[in-house]
């Protein structure tokens, strides 16, 4: 098993320390939880939907391509981004996320725990199981398929700046679990479990027009493998920077 910790690992560690510190501060405050008067919709903000409530969003996520892999083609690659969350209890909720470009898709299923730390500061922990799959059958070009599994544990801090604006910072560890690719009748498989990379997300959630709320954010993934570029079969054992911009309507 290869571990690529470096600065990303340090950030992850710092994220956990910050989370623990926040919880400790919350303990010191020792006040019973009262739901905020203005309950604002949010997908990233670490606050569980009310038990039984569904939260959903649809939007786009754009990923910048690293030149080592896509060479002279530098694009913001768009993907449809759908989120669905379901409250289980005051603190626990389920999350589902689908990102798709039709020929390749990524489905994440996760469970999250979120708790208020102060009136404005919230914190959460969660883990997503991720499955991705891509298939390309183009005459004289591709006869390839690939798929894989990842696990993404994450820690989240949310700050309700005012009644209308929620800031969220999330730190993720991207763990590779399994990879398989086929080219014609040939197949390769990697089932090594390793830290593939880390990601940091900064999201704003707020009303946009009338009662419509939106999510706007940046995700900075720093990883060895990115599922969206499986068909380029990059072989680098080096971490690349994948900045992502996302914008979604909370339905």
């Amino acid at each position: 098993m290869t571990l690529h910790l470096r600065s990303g690992g340090s950030a992850l560690l710092l994220g956990w320390l910050v989370f623990c510190g926040s919880v400790a501060l919350a303990q010191r405050a020792a006040r019973p939880y009262e739901p905020p008067a203005d309950y604002q919709p949010g997908i990233y903000f670490p606050q569980a939907p009310r038990p039984g409530e569904w939260r959903k969003s649809i939007g786009l996520i754009f990923t910048s391509t690293p030149p080592e892999i896509t060479e002279e083609i530098r694009l913001l690659v768009p993907a449809i981004d759908v989120n669905l969350q379901h409250g289980l209890s005051k603190n626990w909720y389920l999350s589902t996320r689908l990102q798709t470009q039709l020929v390749q898709s990524n489905l994440a299923l996760g469970v999250r725990y979120a708790t208020p730390v102060t009136d404005k500061l919230y914190a959460g922990l969660g883990i997503d199981g991720v499955g991705w799959f891509g298939a390309l059958a183009i005459k004289d070009v591709f006869n390839s398929q690939a798929g894989g599994l990842e696990a993404i544990p994450h820690a989240t801090l949310g700050y309700r700046l005012t009644r209308d604006l929620q800031l969220t910072f999330r730190t993720e560890a991207i763990m590779d679990l399994y990879y398989r690719s086929t080219v014609g009748p040939l197949a390769v498989e990697y089932d090594q479990r390793r830290l593939n990379g880390v990601a940091f997300t900064f999201a704003l959630e707020q009303p946009f027009y009338k009662q419509q709320h939106v999510t706007l954010g940046l995700r900075a993934a720093y990883s060895n493998f990115n599922w969206q570029f499986w068909s380029l079969y990059d072989t680098f054992e080096r971490d690349f920077f994948y900045p992502q911009l996302f914008f979604g309507f909370i339905l």
Binding site: S7, L14, P67, E71, E72, F169, G184, P185, S231, T235
Partner: protein, 422 residues
Amino acid sequence: MKPFYYLLVGGLSWLLLQACREQYEAPIPYEFSGQTGSGRFTAPVRQTMEGVYTVTDGVGEFGAQVALKWTYVLNGADTTHYLSIFSGNEAGFFNLENDRSVDSLVVRGYWRKLVNTDTGLARLALRTRRNGQLQRFTGTLAVGDTLVLEGLYGTGTASPDQPLTLTYNRPLNPRPFAILAHRSGGRTSDLLSVSENSLNMIRLASRLGATGIEIDIKFTKDGVPILYHDNLLNLRLIQKNGLEGPVEEYTYQQLNTLVRLVNGEKIPTLEEALETVLTSTTLNFVWLDTKYDGPMDKVQAIQQRFRQRAIASRRDLRIVIGLPTTQAADAYRALANKENTPVLSELDTAITRSLDARIWAPRWTLGPQLEQVRAMQAEGRTVFVWTLDEPKFIEQFIQESNFDGILSNYSPLVAYYHYVDQ
């Protein structure tokens, strides 16, 4: 609480910036003397040494076995010899030269892994094992003797301190197979010491295991064929200089004076590249990839001239024009005279047949295509596959497909899997 938040935001921002700013480099920790000849490594010794070796010390770093092969570059009538060791582990390879500072059969140089930035120094002595005892190799092997390369390797620029022992196991796989290096030897993004599509990369190619190269041809504004891959002047290929846009918008003189490839080389002309192949290397195949639109006659004229020179100097050298698109195929069809103009078709089998291309080269992402490959070979055509870098697929394509060669950015890895194949 506020200082806590400021600390949090500041700390995380700093870490994010650190992560974004990481630049990968893999500088070669060894400077080659470049002296001609091979010292005590005479031709019989070099020939005896080539083979598949079992790794005893150093398995974790370089795998259970490696392939050893000597190559040389020419400088006029002089030759400079290098020992290459190809590892199946993370596209690793060694480049070594005769150590002239000692009075024995010793090589020194560096190792590198292409998939990452790992590199280091190495120094190995050639010995024989006789009756379990290591002895100095005198140049001839007695019955029962086994060749052993024994020495040390290190990491980075540190002095070698880790044991490395290679024991001769068997000869290299003798089956003819084309190990074709992409972009004249390897991609710039693989952090080699020289730039892709440069003269220095052409000189390096055989030390990376290549028996042939693919080079990318474009034209300058004033009609000079040059080696350059991208449509635009891109920072992944050239040093920053403020010049942007299509390479075809600049004259040769402007490019030659103002533009340098990422490792400082000038953009070579096609003629300079073929001159280097012909006079400085032992490469036996050059694939001129058509990256331009328009007539092909200038490239054809250069191809024919260098083919004639190769024949005149009794060089085993095939120079073929690659046809990657229907437009390139049309440009080939439009040539007034197609005599002595071998071409390689990347298009489907029907077009390849209609062009009477002697070489067919499909994409590797279509798989082994055993039936089509056998059919084309039955018609006397050679079949290559491109551009295959994924290590496990390279292994499978060599073991389970029927191609005559592989074009790859990882020629050391193709060399390894080909030479150890039994």
